[in-house]
């Protein structure tokens, strides 16, 4: 069956200024601007957020530790002669612990292709264990702008999650009122 979904985007959230952007989920959208709007609605209506990035999943070159091990020649490629180096964002997932399974923006490298970017990233950002590597051209990322903060992210800080228990029991009646329902379980 043909895939009629809109393109998939990865959503990256920065919790506070100075923190790295982390992948928090995916959405589908028709284009990057709508992707950013949708990412805000779906993923950051309540949690703290200082900045949001979206990038098409197809624009992210991803390799897991297993894939790297299974394909020792993964980096082999012919780079065209005129290729120019560009900025790539590097993301790593370094833990499998529940609640911390983010793919986190670790730094940037200058490279001509995604494979070259990943090769450089592995030298620049070595970690004891990296479960997933992502690299993505910086130009392929759509970002929220600082002036959006007050209308996109700030209102959430004044809103609280209300668990069901907050509302107490619903349907209770004050003493002595509403008698009679016991006789008629289907008042409609």
């Amino acid at each position: 069956m043909p895939d009629t979904q809109w393109p998939r985007y990865e959503v990256f959230k920065q919790d506070a200024p100075g923190q790295p952007h982390r992948s928090i989920g995916t959405i589908h959208a028709a284009d990057p601007e709508l992707a950013l709007l949708i990412a805000r609605d779906v993923h950051v209506r309540r949690p703290d957020c200082a900045s949001l990035w979206v990038a098409r999943t197809d624009d992210i070159f991803s390799m897991t530790a297993d894939e790297l091990a299974a394909h020792p020649d993964w980096a082999a490629e012919d780079i065209p002669g005129g290729a120019v180096a560009q900025t790539f964002h590097v993301f790593q997932k370094t833990t499998q612990r529940r609640g911390m399974t983010f793919v986190v923006h670790t730094g940037d490298v200058q490279a001509r292709t995604a494979r070259e970017a990943l090769r450089l990233a592995m030298q620049r950002f070595p970690k004891p264990e990296v479960f997933v590597w992502w690299v993505c051209q910086a130009g392929a990322v759509t970002r929220s702008e600082p002036e959006m903060e007050s209308s996109w992210f700030a209102p959430a800080r004044n809103k609280t999650y209300k668990q069901q228990a907050y509302y107490g029991e619903t349907g209770a009646r004050p003493e002595g009122s509403g008698a009679g329902d016991e006789d008629d379980p289907h008042p409609e």
């Binding site: 809109w6 959405i27 589908h28 959208a29 028709a30 284009d31 601007e33 709508l34 709007l37 949708i38 805000r40 609605d41 779906v42 209506r45 959006m148 007050s150 209308s151 996109w152 700030a154 209102p155 509302y167 619903t170 349907g171 209770a172 009646r173 004050p174 009122s177 509403g178 329902d181 008042p187 409609e188």
Partner: protein, 255 residues
């Protein structure tokens, strides 16, 4: 509890304006909420549900200010008032239609709110200015969402363009009611509490004309019908019947 009769003329005018602000938001919130579970894609289902909740929250701020003045309980106002008592414009009570209709209505209303709230936030009434400043932040986001959709649908396929134009042709005459002054509006303007709606109209018209025309839509010539805010279409009664049904089953129930 204060009654409306003990209020000054200025307070009466203020109460009328606050109720209109609250009712517009509440009814629009309900229409937006009708898409929950029915939007074209899951992401927009969540997005519009969020916007509906925002509008509901904004209505709550206005109802609270109204209640502080006129002494009414917001829940009673919402769940036990018949259509004749509502002061929303007909624009927001029309059935939700298709996605183009919903996005265009939202856009036209969001743009009106953006222009109005900016001026209310600068006003001399502390409570109103505070609420308007708070609401305005979220409305900037709403306007960005609805204007993005209007543009994409209008410049999209032949079908989405036709549906957008049909929606605009139907909605445009209803926008006039947003700018028809209430009795007492001059008092509010003189007190520096609220802007003159004619001024808001000028700002709104320039903004929406430019966006609609750059999206390839033809803005209708129809000047619209001058109806008062206590005049409603049968659609409001239908909406209220649905919205108030559960509350009216057992008026004594505690929520």
């Amino acid at each position: 509890m204060k009654t409306i009769h003990t209020l000054s003329d200025l307070d009466v005018a203020l109460a009328a304006r606050l109720l209109a602000l609250a009712d517009d938001e509440l009814i629009l919130a309900h229409r937006a909420s009708e898409w929950t579970g029915h939007a074209p894609i899951l992401e927009e289902d969540i997005g519009l549900a969020n916007i509906a909740q925002d509008e509901l929250g904004h209505a709550g701020l206005w109802y609270d200010l109204y209640a502080a003045l006129a002494g009414s309980d917001p829940d009673r106002l919402v769940f036990f008032r018949d259509a004749g008592g509502w002061r929303n414009v007909q624009l927001v009570e029309l059935p939700k239609g298709d996605w183009a209709f919903t996005m265009l209505r939202q856009y036209l209303f969001d743009s009106y709110e953006a222009a109005l709230l900016e001026r209310l936030a600068e006003g001399r009434h502390e409570g109103i200015a505070g609420a308007a400043g708070k609401i305005r932040k979220e409305e900037l986001y709403h306007a960005r969402h609805s204007s993005a959709w209007v543009k994409r649908l209008a410049l999209g396929t032949e079908e989405s363009r036709r549906r957008s134009q049909d929606a605009l042709d139907l909605l445009w005459p209803y926008t006039r009611q947003l700018f028809i002054p209430h009795e007492g509006d001059e008092r509010l303007a003189a007190a520096g509490y609220a802007p003159r709606l004619a001024d808001v109209h000028d700002i709104w018209t320039a903004a929406v004309r430019s966006h609609l025309e750059s999206s390839g839509l033809r803005v209708p010539d129809s000047p619209g019908v001058a109806v008062r805010r206590d005049q409603h279409t049968p659609h409001l009664t239908e909406l209220l019947t649905e919205m108030q049904r559960v509350a009216r089953l057992d008026p004594e129930a505690i929520w």
